[in-house]
Symmetry: none
Subunit: 538 residues, 2 copies
């Protein structure tokens, strides 16, 4: 690769192939949030799903978000025995009204005969007719050549004919899919080069790799080095079986590392938000982030070996291949040493808490954070609770109020009409100095139905906090996440609560307990305390 | 690669570099167990640790297990200003008495000057003297050339001189280490080929790659394809930062896939125990196994897409690059909204529920699955609840018992001693035909403390189920997972419960409700119902 920088296009399929991950089922609202994150990152295409295949994908396309990236609907080439005009599956894809459509079809002779049961010629006709039908309705068309690498190995001229049929019918892109994920990187590079040598232009060629041999990223890079100019992948490498090529790994490699950085240009300007995006996706999935993920993992720049940690302090490049700040990540040096304390001071200063260097409270805070993280607290995800913990050690935490006790009841029974209902009710007793306030509330969800014990507790707590009430009126709970740490019903529960107020502040707090209600309550109380401190500072 | 099959040596460093993983700290007994697993697998070298560096490693070498694999002690070349005879760190490594020692040293001129502060010539002398000292005491010696690829890029002749110094002094192997993990596969292949072209024999050359760009496996394969004949890595890719090259991924690729399988031979005869070994390591580490891990992950052969699942039933090779049985893993056809009638029937048959093709219940079940997954149910993670749903549609679900009502209370208050405690209590009323059973229980966690409302409900429910009691006595809840769908405290909660019994059966059930207690209860009741059906079938 040399000469002027060529444009490389990034195609994200988190919302379609990523949804094939076992245990992943996005809602339409989650799909919209992810699409907007991808758009802000700067990918070129967002494959939103398969319109008509399931209610969620249909809902998503019915209220599809506006994006700079080209929104793409996925589908398959027309079924045998039907005309493209008369295939209701294909019609549903086009009816989604997206600017682009990606149609998957066969390119491996064995699959044409064994899976479709049609002749090789009929398959070519089907590809051409489907692509022409979509292109004729003004859509940018991509053709996903399923099993391309296995197909090329078995019958190279037929596999190439499938690509040519799509291009000749008006496809903007043909995409080489390693559907089974079994092709190794060197072979992907060789075949991609052979395809280009056979006359398929690299700037109309994409690569779609899977991770079944742990090589999805390497296969994608090999195809790009051979001349392919579109890369398909997913955030965090979600996808069928072992996953797709991870764009979270590929994008920084393409932007920051040679020979790619000097020879290619993408629509992504900066990857400084990459770590946040990766973690947010895990939050949506309620998955623990992969600590060892390249670039964005919590351990990606953690230097545990003693020799490495001391060298890093002299010259970071000794054990870091890129600067962690470029991808929005952080260097981690064991908490016990001097670097740990200076990081802590910086973090506290960022929260408006100034501490002198060498203050003995710094060591106490570090010890306390480590002990509590061992118990299950997660202060990286709950900065507000971290600030409250630090303030307690620094004796800068006012005693706004105290909880004397609470009780919450959940009851499930038949109502007078014979319908099964559940009712949650909470009582909270709060002390503000000499004042004692007892509040009771039931639980009321968005549509008036019972919403469970945490909702009831929050409503009882928020009902009357005496002189602090104005602060409470101004806040809302925006998210609530539960993770079980350890195993079994007797494991410890971690609850993280996200809150926001009318001034646009957002903050997160954490609670941990074997009792999920208790863990939730701890996080709720922290959320209120943090808000009271912040309001007082304004 | 052609001609007769060349011997490729496998070098495992799980017990040394793997221990650099954040959060990993093996005991000496765990090291012994892992060493014996590696030996049974058939690796050639086991790097056991750094004798003298910490008490665990010293304890492990003091009672080192007997292995067919060559046990190797890790250390570093002599420190500057000391003779090899007079370096106590090097002495501790040799005192471990292993057949082989692996000594790490510098090969990048920048590091020699910046980190060691010695001349380039002094470093060569140090490498030669250290290797000669160990070889002179009868040890097989390996030299780990730290930062080799960056060093070769900066000063190729000096990097090669470091390798020659080690080989000339008697090293059996020189190992090219990509210490920072930033070198991409194509470059690793080029440099390895250049090293061999410069006269370093491939059968004395090893590769040690890290996963900082997600390419550790691909880098290792590139070096082997270029002629290196030793591969270093760890089980499950443990290791500093993003981890080392995963031998769990590399070994099946080398044994089962071309061009490696036909051209190379290793000491590993079969990989049919690989999945078990990988999962056992996760058990030792108390980590959830990576579902998407190549070859051994629980999802590695899971076919969620409807089109894939129906093709798999006709011919497994359509969507599997290797047979899962070869690596001791299993094919999974999960239920999901992507599934069609053909795999639905297969899935039901697998659960002992035979349904005729075209039975109208099949369409009703699929519709119901889609609707309920839209509400938040996740049947691919909860096969037992799926079976119950299908049975309800097929009118093959006995009414074992009915829940008339339940009530659960959580109270937090000060106890008589002034200590803050929480108490959970549940009442459940069950009907079995004419019989009405009312049970009450509090919650008791592993250490006798309150464990929350779900634990209390389970205990009350399991206390007395009349004639079904024997089935309940035989089951235990093994895991409990909570996911909030949507946002805010008013969102819907999905709970998945894993259960097991004394016959080794394990099953998962799901419940969904805005009320977390109610969702949990639904999953608990499903778990019992599934168990009753399965017991009756036995």
């Amino acid at each position: 690769m040399s000469g002027e920088r060529a444009r490389l296009f990034l195609y994200d399929t988190t919302l379609r192939d990523g949804q094939q991950t076992q245990g992943v089922q996005f809602s339409a609202a989650e799909k919209t949030e992810i699409a907007l994150m991808l758009d802000a990152l700067g990918v070129d295409y967002i494959e939103g799903g398969w319109p008509g295949a399931n209610p969620t994908d249909s809902d998503f396309f019915a209220a599809v978000p506006r994006t700079r990236a080209v929104m793409t609907a996925f589908g398959m080439t027309r079924r045998s025995g039907r005309s493209a005009d008369n295939d209701d599956v294909l019609a549903a894809v086009l009816d989604a009204g997206t600017a682009a459509v990606c149609l998957v079809g066969k390119s491996h002779d064995f699959h044409v005969r064994a899976a479709l049961g049609i002749t090789l010629e009929e398959n070519l006709t089907s590809i051409a007719a489907s692509v022409a039908h979509a292109a004729g309705r003004g859509r940018e068309v991509l053709f996903d050549a399923e099993h391309f690498f296995d197909g090329y190995a078995a019958n190279p001229s037929y596999a190439l004919d499938c690509l040519r049929a799509a291009l000749d019918a008006g496809a903007r892109w043909v995409v080489l899919c390693d559907t089974n994920g079994g092709t190794l990187p060197a072979r992907v590079g060789e075949i991609t080069a052979a395809v280009i040598a056979a006359g398929i232009p690299g700037d109309r060629l994409g690569i779609h790799a899977h991770d079944d041999t742990g090589n999805a990223v390497a296969c994608s890079l090999a195809a790009v080095q051979a001349g392919a100019r579109q890369v398909q992948g997913t955030l965090n490498g979600l996808g069928e079986r072992c996953g797709n090529a991870s764009l979270t790994t590929l994008i920084p490699t393409l932007l920051l590392k040679e020979p790619f950085a000097s020879n290619l240009v993408t629509g992504v300007g900066s990857v400084s938000d990459l770590t946040r995006i990766s973690r947010r996706l895990d939050e949506i999935l309620n998955r623990a982030p992969d600590r060892s993920a390249p670039y964005v993992g919590a351990s990606a720049f953690a230097h545990k070996a003693g020799l490495h940690a001391s060298a890093i302090l002299k010259a970071p490049q000794t054990y870091e291949h890129v600067d962690p700040a470029l991808v929005g990540n952080e260097r981690v040096i064991p908490m016990s040493n001097q670097a740990g304390q200076s990081n802590l001071r910086a973090r506290l200063a960022g929260a408006g808490i100034e501490v002198a260097p060498g203050d003995p409270a710094l060591a106490a805070i570090l010890t306390s954070v480590k002990e509590r993280e061992d118990q299950g607290y997660a202060y990286d995800s709950a900065q507000a609770s971290f600030e409250l913990l630090a303030r307690a050690h620094l004796e800068r935490l006012p005693r706004f109020f105290e909880i004397e006790r609470y009780r919450v009841t959940v009851e499930r029974r038949l109502n007078a009409a014979g319908r099964r209902i559940s009712v949650s009710e909470a009582v909270v007793v709060v002390r503000l100095g000499e004042e004692r306030i007892m509040s009771v509330s039931d639980s009321v969800g968005a549509s008036g139905e019972d919403a469970g014990p945490v909702n009831a507790l929050w409503r009882a707590l928020a009902k009357d906090l005496g002189r602090w009430q104005p602060a409470i009126e101004d806040m809302a709970l925006t998210d609530f996440r539960v993770r079980i740490i350890g195993a079994g019903t007797e494991a410890v529960t971690r609850v993280i609560v996200d809150s926001a107020d009318s001034r646009g502040q957002a903050w997160s707090t954490v609670g941990v307990s074997p009792n999920i209600v208790d863990a939730s309550f701890e996080a709720l109380v922290d959320a209120i305390r943090w808000k009271l401190i912040r309001d007082r500072a304004v």
